[in-house]
Each structure stands twice: as C-alpha cells, then as structure tokens.
C-alpha cells in the first residue's frame, strides 16, 4: 500500500469490472436519485445522483447504508408456508415453490372473490405503490384496502386538502428559496428528508429566520433560531391564538382573502333554516361535477347589496351581518371566523400550551409584519380564473411546514385546519416564499375520487363499485349500510370516522379478530410490520393474531405477509412471500400515487434493478400482476380472459387507465416514440428512456403556471388538457368548511340525505364544526390526567427508518437501543437517575426502559426514538442483542381503542373526523424500577427464530469490501 492509490488505479490493479447505474433510493420514502457503483457484481458505493431534481447529489445516512440492507442476514429468500400443526408466531415454516404459493393464493382468493370479496383484506405499510395495490383491490372487488396513511399523517392530508386543496407531506411544501420567516411545527424528519435538509440549510445561509415549534429539540429544530417548546396536542390553541392576534392587529392579507378564499362569502346564519350554516348560492342552474361552482354571494360595499362573487368592480365586506331580501340573515365567513377566534386569546392559549402569551404575540407579529412588509414580486404575468390579468406574481415570505406533531393527535384535523387558515390569512398559499403545491395538486376540494356508497357496491366476482379510498363531500358519500353502520373492516368512511380518506390500518387486526363488523378470511399484509411498530397495543395485537375461535380456527383464518426481511410480522404469517430489495426490482413512483413532484411541475421516477434478486425473491409487483392474471381481474386480462401483461415492466408500459386514455403509471416519454409527456400512447421503450435520464422525469411548467395554481387559468387549463384534472374551475380556499357543516346538519337531523346512528349524533355534531376549534385529544378526555400527567411521544431518528434498519450493520451501531428522554428536573422529582431503569405506565400498558436526562425537552413531555426496540431474535439479530434487551417500543403504552362513552362501547383512538391514529396523545406516569428488578426491558418476548433460507449471520466479524466475500 504505502502510497495511496486512487480508486480507479486500485480497480485497475485488481482487474475489477466496475459499472455504474442510476436508480432510485428506497431506504426511505423520500425517493432520492442514486447512482450505484457495482464492482464485479457486488454493490460498492451508493451516492446521490447529482442530476436528480430531488436530492441534487446528496444522500442521507440510510441511503449510504443501502449496501448493508442488500447484504443483510435478515433477508427472506424463499416462499414459506407455516408448518402444518405449528402455531402462528412460533416461526416454524417450510420452504415452498412459487408455483405452490401461487396455487394456494389463487385457489383461496378465487373462492373469496366468487363469494364475498370483502373477506379479502389487503393492507400495505410504508410502500409507495398504492396505485397498483389499490388497483388490485378495486379489481378484486374488496373495499378492505388501505395503505399506511391512517397510521401516518392522514390528518395532514385531509386537514389541508379539505381547506386549501393541497397539503404538506408529499403534496406540497414551504418555498424556502424565497421565504424570510420559516415556522416548522411538529416535524422531526419528514418524508421529504433530503430536500428539506437542503432547503433549510440554504434558507439559513441566506439569513432567513427559522422558528421551530416542538416539545423536543432534535435534528432540524436544533438549528432553529428559536425553539418554542409546546405541550403536545395543544398546537390548535397556539395557532388559533396567533390567528386571533394577526386579525386583531389587521395583519392579514385582505386582497388575498377576498379574491381567493371563501372568507367574504355569505353564510346562512338562520338556525331554523334547513340550509343553516351553508354558503348562500344563486339559484342559477349549475352543471353537476366535482368542482366548486362559482355561485356564492358577496355583500358588496359599493352597492350595499349581495352580488355574485368576483363580480367585476365589487368589493365585499369581510365583516358584518346582513339580511338577504328573503329575510335570511347572513354573515361573511370571515365574520364567523372572527367570532370564533374572539376568545382564543394569547393568554388563553398560553395556559394550554405552556408558551408565554408574549411569545405568542411576538410570533404573530413577526409573521404578520414579515408577510406584509417583505412582499415578493416576480415579474411573471399570469391570468386568474376570472380572466383578470396580473402583471406579476406576488408573495408574502412566511413559510410553514408541519408534520406528524400536528397530525398524530386525535384533535389534529382541526389543528391542521387552523394552520391552513393561518397560512391563508397571511396570504401564503401557492405564492413565492410561502406554501407551494406539487403536481398533481391542487385538487378540487374535496378531490373527486369517492368511496363506494353501500354494501351493494361490493359484488361477488366483480370489481368494487367506487374507489377503496376516496374523499367524501358530504354525508351521502359515506360507505355505510342502511343502518348507517360501516361496510369496511376498518370502519373507514363510516359515521365514526367519516373523512378517513386513508383508512384506519391500526384497527384492522382488532376488528377482524373481534368480527366487528364481520369476520374476514384472508389478510394480506405488504411491507407493514403490524405485529410490531405500526400497531398500537402491540402485546394484545400479537395475541389476537394468534387467537382461535371455539372451533379451533384462527379468528383471522389466513395471513399472508410479503416482506423482504424477517420482521416481527413474518412469524405470524401462514404464507410468507419474499420480496426483493429496491436494488433488485423495477418500481415506479407514479403521478397516480404520490410522486416526487417539485414546485415547478410534475416529477415521477422509476427504479431499475442493479443487481439480480437474491435466492427466490420476487417483486411484489410481479406477484400482483401474476395473481391478477390468474384471477382474471378485468384490468389484468384481455377480453378473452387471457393474460394481458407479461410482467410488471410490461404492465407499466402498456397499462392505460381506460383503453386509449393515454394515461398510465408513468408520465414521461409517452407516445409511440417517447415524444409525448403526461398523456400519450404506450411507448415500448419507456423504461430505457427513463433510465437514460437518471430514472426520473421532470416536467417544468411554464413560469406563469407555477404560482396561484388554485386560481391560475393557464395552469388549470393546462392541468385539464393533460388530464391531471377533469375541471378547470378555481379551487377556493375553504376557511369555512361547508363539507363539515353538512355532516353537522346531518347530526342535527337537518340533512335531507343520510343521517348518523343515534349514538354518534353528538360526536358528529361536536367535531364537524365548519370552523376550527380547540379540543383536548380524545385520550386526554378519558384519562385521569392527574394520575398520568406526562405526554409521551416519539421522534423519527434520521439514521433509521421505522423498524427496517436494525438489520443494517452500520445503522444499528448508531441506534442500538433507545432511551426515554426527560427533563432533569422531572427526573429528580420522580427520583430516577440519569441512565437508570424506569417504569413508564399509561392507562393501557406499561414498559420498563432506561431514561436519559435532556434539557431539550418540554418538562411535561418524555420522548424516545421510534421503533428502535425489537423482538429478540427478529431481524436475524442475536437473541440477546441490545434492541431486544435494552430497547423498547412505546407502542405498548398506546391503545388502539378508547372507551367511547356515548359513541359506543369503544372507539378507535383516532381523530373523530379522519380516523388518524392518535400516536402522540398518550399520557403516562413514570417511576423508578426497583433495584431488584432485572436491568432489561419489559414486556419481554420469546425470541423469534430464524426462518428457513435466511442467510447465515456473521457472528464475530463483518469485514465488508466490495472486493472479496461479503462477510468474513
């Protein structure tokens, strides 16, 4: 060695063959572009693709550790069938062939489909192929399909989409290139991991001011200019008080509110009227369609009369109280908002949030004054939906970003509505320096897809009538039977959780086990660790998975698990399908799903295999295409019943949403020769063209279409022409939500259509408030908060993805186990020692874990890293590995159900509007573990056993080099 050699010289001397290929990372859902260097068939280096619009060449800790995922000893390599007679959870399997696996599945699923398709349930976790899995479920005919959204951040999606037609998460974000003030709320890592890091650091370097509102200061919050520690679950109060102060001071963007929101629109305020609380509309006939017809009224200050909105020359009142000619009392929606905010003063919020009133006021002033006095003006002419031409694009440089700190509470929907309204009042929606949409957003409010309407939409042998998941616009869009009871196994779209637009994955196992609303036959789980971290009440859930009825039959008769690793879930499977890794398969990140679009236009991307699959691993995509073909689901077969698609890549190229629609999974290089974009005939060389372009397609909108997209005529028509939307109508911001009011009317018996069952009327009436309000999370409402005074939350560690990465030899050295962090004062008060073992107890369960003192946490809150603790033996870790002995899972403390009071014996521990899992609501108390208790975590689990076909795990040494053997 002596003198250092350059890499290329080293390879030359060793005579090694080096290849590089671009593909897309999947060490997390962010989906950065990566370049993989392979040396003699072995992965040597994974770097960020410098030409990729998302990550621009950077990579994260996980992405750079992809090699250790590829060569992980926890890989599943063969289809496995539970041994006859072996108990579920015992992990006793025998390898079978794929033929056999398909035969079992085909036989079983065909029978279910011909009798009662809803007895097949498909739930998927942190995957990114909902377009395909959803299509499969719909074609199969089952409504019992959802992905992880309900356990994740559906509040974020629903709260914002029902308000502004777009959201954070994968749908939009803060324009930090131009913002001056950035307020980040309840975000630890986010889906947009690398891009957000890139953006925050550029923002800080430009001298922008960064405020983080979070009970905990880690990660991004660490570099905030100001940290505002808040008590969990109270952000609604904070945001309402800030909005109160902004309006009180006149710091709102009046022109924006008038032109682009329903703030000035008149609301019927006659409590006797059947249309009480609805917007007053002209009686002109409007075509039916999934859009907001522009037929509401303003009260014009010039003529002092009601006029149609956007009447040329009119100037509406935002405040006041008026009477229509027919005697109906009306008020502008903004007046109702102001009425609502009246008592939400900073002092009031201070008592709830623990933030000094002065700070709340100061934050409001900073936001308001920065928005007003630092207006951005870009010389980009554009035309609005009413034909008015604008010389320039203007914006107010105050940007927000929020994630699960707001979403994962059962009061999150209203909190997020409050945030959307604050952003709107500041005039920052789809404008430079504020919030920006990403294609295919904005969508109409609500988006057009609708769930089925009743049991009759589930038909043996036929596709589902409707989408498994959709966006109810009112009570009549619910998916309930004639008694108003749920049709879905997770009770989604029922009166219990009417706007559960992403389903309620966290209730599937409990409901199926209990047979409430009914028993199912086969539960297929893809890429979800539901026996561990995507489940609340984990100990009980594991028992339910194993529970048998009086006939000795499993209550959930057949469990299929498709995973790439020996997760905690695998042991419970009857049939295990070994998936490939992201480096071994084709994949698409489609506009039909959640693409990686940028502010400036749609972006979609693909994965291509860079190494061959290990053992008999098969991409789940291929499994679905195969099953679809065998089951003769219409989308997968020709009219004569013959198989339509050779394989997944073939499906991606040739599938069209409707014959000849020109719309498929991929938007790039469509048309026979790849000359068309977004819409066009299938292109047989589409994969090649993606690969040539770094596996990404980026369509940049003309500059004049890039802003104000809710009301940008050019954009709306472009979107319509390219079939991103059906209608080109403006999307008005719903400060006042008519959709919610419709549910409330139904609860009050005033809705002509469907009405809730008696026991849920009060619940609906309370929570379906057309204006945001603050209420305690449901869990706090039923918990003795004197006895359980502390909030317990989790954070995403930047160097771990959920439960995936404990099998990763590099990442697990960074997070080998987890501590419970608490303020030193709290620790002293409780008499516990830094590093000592403590009991954490909630009303629903308890765990023993180790604590660490930290000054970076709000004193009423304790926290830990998410999903670091593991079942001993899972993931092919040694049974005494730290993850299983020292690490713990907070989920044991969280219940999936709460006593429901009047609403029934129990309700899901979820937001009553969206069904969002209330992960961060749990209240706990803490006390030191006794000296004679073992220094181990509790609850303890039997060690999982390695499954057949798993690679031998290297014991003492792992000496990885892309040269010699993978392991020593």
């Amino acid at each position: 060695m002596s003198e250092p050699l350059t890499e290329s010289e080293l390879r030359r001397r060793r005579g090694e063959r080096v290849e590089q290929r671009n593909t897309t990372c999947y060490m997390c859902a962010c989906r950065c572009g990566i370049r993989v260097t392979v040396v003699d068939g072995k992965v040597r280096y994974i770097q960020g693709n410098p030409d990729h619009p998302l990550n621009k060449g950077v990579i994260c800790a996980k992405g750079a550790s992809g090699i250790m995922k590829q060569y992980s000893p926890a890989r599943l390599t063969q289809p496995l069938l539970r041994k006859p007679g072996a108990e579920r959870g015992a992990g006793e399997f025998e390898p079978i062939s794929w033929d056999e696996a398909f035969r079992i599945l085909e036989e079983r699923l065909a029978r279910i489909r011909e009798t009662d398709p809803k007895k097949f349930a498909l739930f998927t976790g942190r995957d990114q192929m909902q377009a395909l899995t959803g299509l499969f479920a719909k074609q199969f005919g089952t409504p019992n399909y959802a992905a992880h959204g309900g356990v994740c951040s559906v509040n974020m999606a629903a709260g914002m989409i029902y308000t502004i037609g777009g959201s954070f998460w994968e749908f939009g974000g803060p324009d930090l290139d131009r913002a001056k003030l950035f307020v980040m709320i309840g975000t630890a890592e986010d889906h947009h991991s690398n891009p957000l890091k890139i953006a925050i650091s550029k923002f800080k370097r430009r001298g922008g001011r960064f405020v983080s509102i979070n009970p905990v200061r880690t990660g991004y919050s660490a570099i905030a200019d100001e940290w505002v520690p808040i008590r969990p679950g109270t952000d609604g109060a904070l945001l309402l008080a800030i909005t109160h102060e902004i309006i009180r001071r006149g710091l709102y963007d009046r022109d924006f509110l008038v032109r682009y929101t329903n703030a000035p629109q008149l609301v019927n305020v006659d409590p006797e009227s059947p249309e009480y609380g609805l917007l007053v509309r002209t009686r002109d006939p409007v075509p039916e369609g999934c859009f907001d017809p522009q037929n509401q009224l303003w009260w014009d200050r010039h003529t002092d009369r009601p006029v149609r909105t956007h009447t040329e020359g009119a100037d509406p009142y935002l405040l006041g109280s008026f009477t229509l000619e027919d005697g109906t009392p009306v008020k502008p929606a903004f007046q109702l908002l102001v009425d609502r905010l009246k008592d939400y003063t900073p002092e009031w919020a201070s008592r709830i949030t623990g933030i000094p009133a002065e700070t709340i006021r100061r934050l409001a002033h900073e936001m308001g004054v920065t928005a007003r006095d630092h207006r951005i003006e870009l010389p980009i002419p554009w035309t609005d939906a009413w034909g008015r031409e604008h010389e320039s694009v203007t914006g107010n440089p105050v940007a927000f970003h929020a994630m699960r700190g707001l979403a994962a509470h059962s009061n999150g929907f209203h909190t997020i509505r409050a945030l959307s309204i604050l952003m709107t009042v500041l005039g920052t929606i789809d404008r430079p320096g504020g919030f920006r949409h990403k294609a295919p957003f904005p969508r109409p409010i609500p988006p057009c897809a609708k769930p089925p309407k009743g049991p009759e939409d589930v038909r043996p042998g036929q596709p589902l009538n409707g989408m498994p998941l959709g966006w109810p616009a009112g009570p009549d869009d619910l998916f309930v039977d004639e008694r108003g009871e749920p049709v879905r196994i997770d009770k989604g779209f029922s009166w219990e959780y009417p706007l559960s637009v992403h389903g309620l994955m966290h209730n599937v196992i409990t409901n199926a086990w209990r047979g409430d609303p009914y028993r199912i036959d086969t539960l297929m789980i893809f890429m979800a660790n539901m026996a561990w971290n995507s489940t609340m009440n984990t100990v009980e859930i594991r028992r339910m998975l194993n529970d048998k009825d009086e006939n000795g039959e499993y209550k959930i008769p057949f469990l299929v698990v498709c995973d790439a690793f020996q997760s905690e879930m695998v042991a419970f499977a009857d049939l295990v399908l070994p998936d490939t890794t992201y480096l071994e398969r084709h994949d698409v990140m489609s506009l039909l799903d959640r693409p990686i679009s940028e502010f400036d236009g749609p972006v979609d991307s693909v994965r291509v295999p860079v190494v061959p699959p290990l053992g008999e691993c098969k991409p789940f995509q291929e499994v679905l295409i195969e099953l679809g073909s065998r089951l003769k689901l219409p989308a997968f077969v020709n009219p004569d019943g013959s198989r339509k698609y050779r394989d997944y890549p073939d499906f991606i190229v040739n599938y069209e949403t409707e014959p000849g629609s020109g719309i498929g999974f991929l938007a790039g290089w469509r048309g026979k020769g790849g000359e068309k974009h977004l819409r066009g005939e299938p292109n047989p060389r589409q994969w090649e063209m993606y690969e040539k372009n770094g596996c990404v397609f980026h369509y940049e909108l003309p500059r004049s279409y890039q802003y104000f997209r809710n009301w940008n005529q050019g954009y709306l028509e472009w979107a319509q022409r390219h079939r991103l939307t059906r209608y080109a109508e403006p999307i008005m911001i719903q400060i006042y939500s008519e959709v919610l009011q419709k549910f409330r009317l139904a609860a009050e018996g005033k809705w002509p259509g469907r009405q809730p069952p008696q026991r849920l009327r009060e619940r609906i009436r309370t929570y379906f408030d057309p204006l945001p309000f603050y209420h305690e999370p449901l869990e706090a409402q039923v918990t003795d908060t004197q006895r359980y005074p502390l909030n317990a939350v989790t954070q995403r560690p930047m160097a771990m993805y959920h439960s995936w990465d404990s099998q990763n030899a590099w990442l697990r050295q960074i997070h080998t186990y987890n501590y419970l962090y608490m303020s030193p004062q709290l620790g002293e008060r409780l008499g516990v020692e830094d590093g000592g073992w403590v009991w954490v107890e909630s009303p629903w369960g308890k765990v023993r874990c180790r604590c660490r003192f930290s000054e970076a946490v709000e004193p009423n809150t304790v926290w830990t890293w998410n999903a670091i603790g593991k079942q001993p033996g899972a993931w092919n870790l040694a049974p005494d590995a730290n993850e299983g002995r020292d690490g713990f899972l907070l989920n044991h403390l969280i219940s999936e159900e709460l006593p429901g009071g009047a609403a029934g014996a129990r309700v899901s521990n979820s937001d009553p509007i969206t069904g969002q899992a209330g992960w961060y609501d749990v209240r706990v108390r803490i006390y030191p573990a006794r000296a004679d208790e073992p220094g181990r975590t509790w609850p303890e689990f039997e060690p999982a056993r390695p499954v057949p076909g798993e690679p031998e795990r290297p014991r003492r040494w792992l000496v990885f080099s892309a040269r010699g053997k993978a392991r020593a």
């Binding site: 770097q47 920065t370 050295q813 990885f960």
Partner: protein, 243 residues
C-alpha cells in the same frame, strides 16, 4: 504549500449522520478499507468509523441549544500523532497536508492515538492497524471522476452542505473565505496542534417588530370597520315615539 481540510458549518448541521455512513461506505471498499465491524448482528455492535456525529446540549431549558457535532481527523498542521509514531506509519504529506497511516508499516501500537487530543484515530480491531480519515485521498485526485465529484464522500453526501472542502492555505478558497468571514475556529486551540479542519459557529437571525409597524395607514381593519349604513326603512326611534 497546500493544506487540504474540511470546514464544518455547525450553523446548518442537523446531525443526520450521512457523513458517517457515506464515509464508511466509500472507504470500506476502497484503498483505506476494509473497516471491520465486530458483533455486527450481536450484542454491543462496534466497528471502525472515520467520522462520527455527536450531540451536545448547551444551556438549560427553555434556552437549550442542541448542537450536532461531526468530527473526523482534523489534519493538524502540527500533528502530535505523527512524530510519536515509532514506525513512520503515521505521516503528514508535504504536498497537501493530509495526515495518513501506512497500514503496511503500522504495528498497531496505538501510540499515535494517545497523542491525538481529539479522539479521531481508531484501531481497526480486525486488521489491527490504526485507521483514520484520509480526506478521501483516493477520490480527490482520481481523474477518472468528474471534477465536481473529486471531493470526499462525506462532503458529497452532506444534505445540508455543512461540509466544505478545500485548501485552507489558499486565502481565496471557499474554505478560507468561510473561516475568515464566518468566524471559523479550531478545536482545542490550547494544544497548539493547529488543526486544519475548522468549524463555523451558530448564527442567530432575529426579526424585530416595532410598535409602529403594527399600526399602519393601510391597515385593512380600517376598511373592515366601515360597516354598512342601516337601510332607511329599518326601524328606528322615529317610528315609535315622539317628544
């Protein structure tokens, strides 16, 4: 004379560990590898890394600052680790100031690690030789790489661009400018090791809002307060009494 170095911007580092694993990834299969892991899937896993990211808390609640702090060999200009090495395995290159270890000469006596105040040298327990950051000497001069990629792996990886790389002796280089203009400092200056790597401190941005800014002529409330006049035919005292 050239002195290559990293400048680490604590103002933007979010502690993501990308530099930690990308370093390991690049180096374990490269000239400076392998970097062994012991107990990789057992209890107490431990392994060789050239770069670590640590976290410190400064101050007390609620004024706590959380500081993420990446640290690798600082390529000292007066490296105490070099003269103590009995074999000459540890050396500092004259041409670019990189401090390296020649694994073929190293006897694994660990003495150099004692002589480094920063705790950045790690004995590879499998190969039994001393290892440390090489400033990716096998990348930065590799002409088969595109110019933009002739940078250390950790620098390319860092999502916040908190890691700058360049010649701290060239006053016009990006790193020298950053040190000069943004208060770049060295660690443990008390030892006179003259680390080549520097750190850039946190900076705070504040917005001051004055009372005047809160009341302005164009306050929309003025407009809002102008509520409509009541209609002439609305009831008034005129209708009910006379006096």
């Amino acid at each position: 004379m050239t002195q290559l170095a990293l400048v680490i911007d604590l103002n933007v580092c979010v502690g993501c560990h990308a530099c930690v694993t990308s370093c390991k990834e690049w180096n374990t299969s490269g000239w400076a590898g392998p970097m062994a892991d012991e107990n990789p899937y057992e209890r107490d896993p431990t392994g060789t890394f050239f770069n670590r990211v640590q976290t410190f808390e400064v101050g007390a609640f609620p004024f706590t600052e959380t500081v993420h702090f990446p640290k690798s060999c600082l390529h000292c200009e007066e490296p105490p680790c070099v003269p103590v090495c009995p074999t000459g395995a540890s050396y500092k290159r004259a041409e670019d100031g990189i401090v390296l270890v020649d694994y073929d000469k190293c006897i694994g006596c660990k003495y150099c690690s004692w002589a480094c105040p920063y705790g950045v040298r790690e004995l590879d327990e499998h190969q039994k030789v001393m290892k440390k950051c090489t400033l990716c000497v096998d990348r930065i001069y590799d002409e088969s790489l595109p110019e933009a990629e002739r940078k250390p792996a950790c620098v390319l990886a860092c999502p916040t661009n908190a890691r700058l790389f360049g010649d701290v002796h060239d006053p016009e280089s990006e790193v020298s400018v950053a040190i000069r203009e943004r208060g770049g400092y060295a660690l443990m200056p008390e030892w006179g090791t003259k680390p080549a790597n520097h750190y850039l401190p946190r900076r705070k941005t504040r917005i001051e809002v004055t009372e005047e800014e809160l009341v302005r002529a164009d306050n929309p409330l003025k407009k809002e307060r102008k509520l409509p006049k009541p209609a002439f035919d609305e009831p008034s005292l005129d209708d009910v009494t006379s006096w």
